[in-house]
Subunit: 230 residues, 2 copies
């Protein structure tokens, strides 16, 4: 069994967990506090970021998209119609664009800020940057969610899955990001029926179940977080 | 010939230009102002970011790493010992980690800030965020360069090329980022002989020549920018 250094409220880490789950492969999870900069962890990844996978031979594979590519090269290619990636280079580029959208653009405009202000800061020691949440950062992130939800709603209304007719990494990345925000009650699904329906479909998959059981200290999820019919 | 929407002072765009250059393939370049948010450009890439490649059939391929993967899948695999990527999944993961380092981490800690404050702001209309440079942002970015230069010096001193014995995307990404900073005279090569020697080797390649001819309006490069023996 491979090992993943992760944090439960990291969208990038959730993406990796769902991907392994889809391929029916269990991961040993080690929770790493993103701010701690432990020496042993920095030796695996000098950038100090999550996730890090310890692959065969305990070689560290660093970062969600890099792990996703590794997983595709070592497992995905053998999965035929269950592969979470396309065969065609153009279709692969579209999947990668969307993974970057949700784990890059949305992360830096929305997810990272809400997680830092609402989840991490209350747990962090003051010396590491802990303390009261910054309400300006929260407001800005909340204003940005709407655009991402609207774009997802458009994609989900246009295509069966976000990158086309099959479930792919694009869906996993988007669902990973939205699931973190949904835990925090930050997603207003009401006017976005296509996005809501798409999220319900991803959320109902067995690979998603472990994420719905995640809890962070001192912060319970909103009541509908684990409901499959919300 | 394929078309690249780019900006000369974008490390991500430079990475793509060098990669195509290494494979001996010319690109038609269209300069796009990163702040302009032109309708026609947003139709190609709703994120509004650079670079965007118009691939075969004018299909837009969005983002430097996505274009890099596309280029490898459609050209690289045929290049044998001239391929800019490895064959082995573990080695590929290391190359991708370093590309993310230079075009992600270094970009967000250093490159983006210095380019925005020193190159773009003087050209941008006030309504788009133009105006006087923010000296705090410049100071912070300058403090961060040192760590990246030190890390690169360590890599270049340990391995012949940054990801191993052959030149790869990792070198192209790092050289693209450093070349932007070098244009601005922001890199102090003096105490980093291994990094300097490595950069000189990349800079001497024919694929790099067009970048050394790049000029931005109102800002000449430092005197050693285009010197092959600096």
């Amino acid at each position: 069994m491979l090992t993943l250094f992760h944090h439960p409220m990291s969208a990038a880490c959730r993406f990796v967990r769902i991907a392994f789950g889809e391929y029916g492969e269990e991961l040993a999870l080690i929770e790493e506090m993103p701010w701690s900069r432990r020496k042993e962890f920095l030796a695996l990844n000098p950038a100090g970021t999550l996730p890090v996978l310890l692959a065969e031979g305990d070689v560290p594979i660093v970062g969600a998209t890099v792990i996703g590519e590794y997983l595709d090269e070592t497992r995905g290619v053998l999965k035929r119609e269950r592969r979470l990636f396309a065969e065609n280079p153009m279709d692969r580029a579209e999947i990668r664009r969307l993974v970057d959208w949700y784990l890059g653009k949305m992360e830096s405009e929305v997810t990272r800020h809400l997680v830092r202000e609402r989840v991490l800061k209350p747990l962090m020691p003051n010396a590491a940057g802990g303390g009261s949440p910054d309400s300006t950062a929260i407001r800005a992130a909340r204003a940005n969610i709407r655009q991402h939800l609207k774009y997802t709603n458009w994609l989900a209304g246009t295509r069966h899955w976000l990158a086309g007719s099959r479930i792919t990494y694009a869906d996993l990345a988007a669902a990973a990001a939205f699931s973190v925000l949904d835990y925090l009650g930050e997603v207003d699904w009401r006017d976005n029926a296509a996005a809501r329906d798409w999220y319900m479909r991803v959320k109902s998959r067995p690979s998603f179940r472990p994420l719905l059981a995640d809890r962070v200290r001192g912060l319970a999820p909103v009541s509908h977080y684990a409901d499959l019919d919300f």
